[in-house]
Symmetry: C2
Amino acid sequence: MTTPVPYVHGYSENEARRLGDQADTLAELLHADTRYPAGSRVLEAGCGVGAQTVHLVASSPGMHLTSVDISEESLAQARARVRAHSDAHTSARVQWHRADLFDLPFADGSFDHLFVCFVLEHLRYPLKALAALRRVLKPGGTITVIEGDHGSAFFHPDSAHARAAIGHLVRLQAEAGGDSLIGRRLQPLLTEAGYDGVTVRPRTVYADATRPALVEGFTRDTFTAMVAGVGAQALAAGLTTRADWERGIAGLHRTAQAGGTFHYTFFKATAVRP
Amino acid sequence: MTTPVPYVHGYSENEARRLGDQADTLAELLHADTRYPAGSRVLEAGCGVGAQTVHLVASSPGMHLTSVDISEESLAQARARVRAHSDAHTSARVQWHRADLFDLPFADGSFDHLFVCFVLEHLRYPLKALAALRRVLKPGGTITVIEGDHGSAFFHPDSAHARAAIGHLVRLQAEAGGDSLIGRRLQPLLTEAGYDGVTVRPRTVYADATRPALVEGFTRDTFTAMVAGVGAQALAAGLTTRADWERGIAGLHRTAQAGGTFHYTFFKATAVRP
């Protein structure tokens, strides 16, 4: 984050709530198999508003977690979120640092494990970030990376306007220096960044009328809300008209109604520092 | 299949081999959790060249399997394939019938279970087919449906030509009356066709350099081979130029080389006749 990339989703209160809802819905899917041993030193690189931190802390209460972010404001929200979700003893154990991922204030090999979730998609130089992170990981330590890929979104009924709206989000994020199609690149990125034992697996959200909590929690309140959230930017950038944008968002909402279906793939990667 | 839809992939020897390779690579992913009890009466509707039949027979050796297809030639190949993959006793137990899915020569409720794999995508009236199949299923019996969805294909490096080539296959199949994006519709289709307890789950193939057998077996020899197989049709239909088509196929092959990744989602549905 030495390259100051504007966070495409913004920093509003609604956005913080969206990230919280998203993490709760997806927690089981993304985090259920991440457990760090008691006493292990874990770095969460790019904790944002703490949406993933609360799940890390709940799953591995005995670890020593250090969470860093480039934004002082996000760190304050993350700290409050962890305090609200954990007992006083647990939340007091988390170390919070405002820091730049490319210039971390930690000695070489300071951590047993690294955790990076929904961060690389916002960076102009994700490969450089992974290589910089490797320095603070001890040899034999693991890195876990979780990212989405907006190219994985498809749905019924299909809608050209909805696909276009997603395309506008992808483009805005690309123009901000990020890559919302990064999930498919995790394996080559980690390999090129010098990690061993790279293992990447898809983690798919599929929602239809038989899974109403996912329809509401993911299709509507996570994905559609995320796309809707960049409407003003898409209009300001002249990517679309108000009418077409509204058709796109309506098309996404339609997939959350009876007979609709929605598919989205996250990728979870693990690798080891040689 | 009362509506004679040309089978978009053709009936060549190469195509039969492709379907065999595909089934072997995917067998674990798609079929591992399908087991029918000894003595149960199972109908495989649309067995084609028997690519799935051999796995059904291997997984549930005690069932009474009846496999039907509209093509006499495919049935002959299916029978030979099962004979080559099973012992004489097992292969002799399979009943083969040339029949129309919309007009099956079986009494109401003749079967305990129905199995339908890679069939609905080729039908002009998949909803009508599912409703017709329901008649021969006993109340309380199950139907299992497996279909792909070509809209789920994404890959690294991304390639506009490769995406266009896939789009041409989707269009050719649509013009032949089929729907290669049908996976996302299984839940509403089964519900509308009068089944209960509809459960649909994605079955995702993700291949990268760390999984060379999948890269070869799926990315190259299944998916890329399938797209490449409709090149002559795409050119004859004027959908593309030879140069663009070759760029598209080269783009798909590139995803099977070092640093490439490939993602594709099948959908597996189960439901019950009320």
